[in-house]
């Protein structure tokens, strides 16, 4: 494939440019980092976001019995294992001829998935994003975290943790365990919900709904209260892709693909999930392991798009639950009905989705189907299947081929962070140009870039979090390659300054 070079993706003459590396290493072999190449006048010549995606997982799956896959893929990610669990199950439903699954299994899976949306969105907003919005990008590092939120807004912080806990409990009663659940299998479910456990969660709903409403209030208030200079922060017009349900409803578990252009026009609608390869291609670039998906009709340069909350809230025509729909309308009205592409609006959209998630969970907990009935379907065996689901961070695609011996012969995964690869790069470039070009690099300025990344909360493809990593490292080099400055903030929060670069800096 011919490599497409976008503005600021590759400097015309990288030799002799100073290099700044933002290296938020939080895993062992996989980490994200931003590289900035500056000339002697501190003008930005090149910006790249590198997220190391572990493509090897696909090979890990090949050769395994298909029935193991829905459990195995949960080890892709410690934050949204349920999304992988269900996307794999949906794909393999097709293989065993079990699609559609029985009504009881469908409703239990939906309950599990919306519990996942609630817990992940709560974690993201209260733990990761709200500190930036509450305290501003220039606030002290020690304040820009959940600790700062807890100190300044203790009740909001508590509600965030309790919302997360509630979502985890929904997962537990449907998947069977708090982590590594086994409830969903090809063709349906292997367990129903226990009535007593359901009743415990149902009793919590009034309080949980109130917390979710308060979360939308907080996100909306923080967004509409942003200072003027941040209103257009990291604005990157992009097409938007997501699943939608019947009539264009917001849908997370199953639906058809819709793509809306950046100007709001619907470009693709009603696209069946099994044919996604006719809609999406996957490009590669030599400087990053992560692929760049694009719309085949437009090619790799113009065909990139955004997935996730900001895309979903605008891609749907309505939300089928009343509280979230009212909030969606408020979101649209607040922007004059125009498409919104500033990444900070993602947080507001995410909280609208969280409220929707709680409403759907409430409906499903009142559905007697989740307590039992036929749970498994079988039918004519097929060689392959595709499962597409809306994970918390965006569209998630699993595709498998299975041989006559029941072993997986092919696996293709496109995770949300991969869909957003180009969109994240564009956001980082926007911020770099707007706030860092020609400036001295300071910690608050570097945080502006992290704020743009945080809005997407990139998934680092699998939970590996051994102690001893450095969540942030910055190295400054002069035109001769000499280290002028190096700062790293360890995983324990202490900052060390010196002239020895972090080892990952060499891996550019």
């Amino acid at each position: 494939m011919t490599e497409t070079v976008r503005p600021l993706e590759t400097a015309a003459h990288p030799q002799g440019l100073r290099r700044v590396v933002i290296d938020p290493v939080s895993r062992v072999e996989g980490h994200g980092k931003v590289t900035l190449l500056l000339d002697d006048d501190n003008r930005i010549q090149q910006v790249r976001l590198h997220i190391v995606e572990f493509r090897g997982f696909e090979q890990f799956i090949v050769g395994r019995p298909y029935w193991e896959v829905p459990v195995m893929v949960q080890r892709l990610c410690g934050i949204c294992p349920v999304s992988h669990h269900l996307a794999a199950s949906k794909a393999l439903d097709r293989v065993v001829g079990g699609w559609p699954v029985p009504e009881a299994a469908n409703q239990i899976r939906r309950l599990m998935h919306y519990g996942q949306i609630v817990q992940s969105h709560a974690l993201h907003f209260f733990h990761l994003s709200s500190p930036d919005l509450l305290f501003g990008f220039d606030a002290a590092v020690a304040q820009r975290n959940i600790v700062g939120v807890a100190m300044a807004h203790p009740e909001a912080a508590r509600q965030g943790v309790m919302l997360r806990k509630f979502g985890q409990e929904v997962i537990r009663i449907t998947a069977g365990k708090r982590v590594h659940g086994t409830g969903s299998v090809p063709g349906g479910m292997n367990r129903a919900v226990d009535a007593a456990e359901r009743d415990v969660l149902r009793a919590q709903l009034p309080e949980v709904l109130a917390w979710a409403e308060a979360a939308v209030d907080l996100a909306e208030r923080l967004h509409t209260g942003l200072p003027k200079h941040l209103v257009g922060f990291a604005e990157t017009p992009a097409a938007m892709m997501s699943l939608v349900g019947p009539g264009g409803a917001m849908e997370f578990y199953d639906g058809t693909l819709r793509v809306r252009e950046a100007d709001g026009r619907v470009a693709v609608d009603g696209f069946e999930d099994q044919g996604y390869r006719e809609l999406i291609g996957e490009g590669v670039k030599p400087w990053t392991y992560m692929k760049f998906p694009y719309r085949l009709a437009l090619g790799p340069d113009a065909g990139w798009y955004r997935v996730g909350p900001l895309a979903r809230v605008q891609n749907c025509d309505f939300i089928a639950t009343p509280r979230a729909e009212a909030r969606r309308r408020a979101f649209v009205d607040a922007h004059g009905g125009r498409p919104v592409h500033t990444v900070l609006a993602t947080h507001w959209a995410r909280m609208i989705e969280l409220l929707h998630g709680v409403e759907v969970v409430a409906d499903l907990l009142n559905d007697p189907a989740i307590l039992g009935g036929p749970l498994l379907a079988t039918g004519e065996r097929q060689r392959s299947g595709v499962g597409i689901i809306e994970a918390p961070r965006g569209t998630l695609i699993h595709e498998y081929e299975v041989g006559d011996d029941d072993l997986v012969t092919s696996c293709n995964l496109i995770v949300s962070t991969t869909h957003n690869n180009q969109a994240m790069n564009e956001a980082v470039r926007s911020v770099a140009l707007q706030y860092l070009d020609g400036q001295t690099i300071t910690e608050p300025l570097l945080n502006h870039i992290e704020v743009a990344i945080r809005a997407y909360d990139p998934c680092l493809s699998c939970a590996t979090h051994a102690l001893g990593q450095m969540p942030l490292a910055v190295t400054l080099r002069n035109a001769r390659g000499e280290v002028l400055d190096h700062v790293h903030r360890s995983s324990r929060g202490d900052t060390v300054r010196g002239t020895r670069p972090h080892s990952a800096e060499a891996a550019l």
Partner: protein, 158 residues
């Protein structure tokens, strides 16, 4: 949480599919098999990684032992006290033990229980690999220490 909470908690995290990263949950599983769980004094938990809601798992404990794989160690394992601290991050995919204790402090408006971190030497994190022989040997030594920790009424010296 209620008064029925076990006074001792051992919490290990890591990914069982990623080589030495499995050391934390492996130790906890082995400890659960060896320790006197029936007495109700000890609870063992594992997860992929620490997250904010785990602060609630600490409520009502007398002592807590965290267990994780760690790179860069010169000895089979290291033991250290953990204290609340603010830690900045860019993704929800990890939370440091110090940050977890700070969440506890701010949510509960009280000091967390005494927490100890047992870090086990680790080197390889390849997907689909079992822990290395060296890591398993280190794990055995760390397990001995952890067993002693469960029997002590006072903190085991590091």
């Amino acid at each position: 949480m209620t008064s029925q909470v076990a006074p001792l908690l051992v919490f290990g995290w890591g990914n069982l599919s990623r080589g030495d990263d499995a050391l934390g949950p492996m130790l906890v599983e082995q400890l659960a098999g060896l320790a006197q769980m029936s007495s109700g004094r000890l609870e063992c938990l594992t997860d992929f990684q620490l997250q904010v809601e785990h602060a609630l798992d600490l409520v009502g404990r007398e002592r807590v032992l965290f267990v994780d794989a760690a790179i860069g160690l010169r000895t089979p394992f290291e033991v250290s006290e953990v204290h609340p601290a603010a830690v900045a991050g860019f993704t929800t995919h990890a939370l440091a033990p110090e940050a977890l204790l700070q969440v506890y402090t701010d949510l509960e408006r009280s000091e967390p229980p005494p927490c100890t971190l047992l870090a086990i030497r680790a080197q390889r994190f390849e997907l689909g690999e079992a822990p290395s022989e060296l890591a398993l040997a280190d794990l055995a030594l760390a397990l001995d220490w952890a067993m002693a920790w469960t029997r002590q009424t006072e903190e085991v010296p590091a």
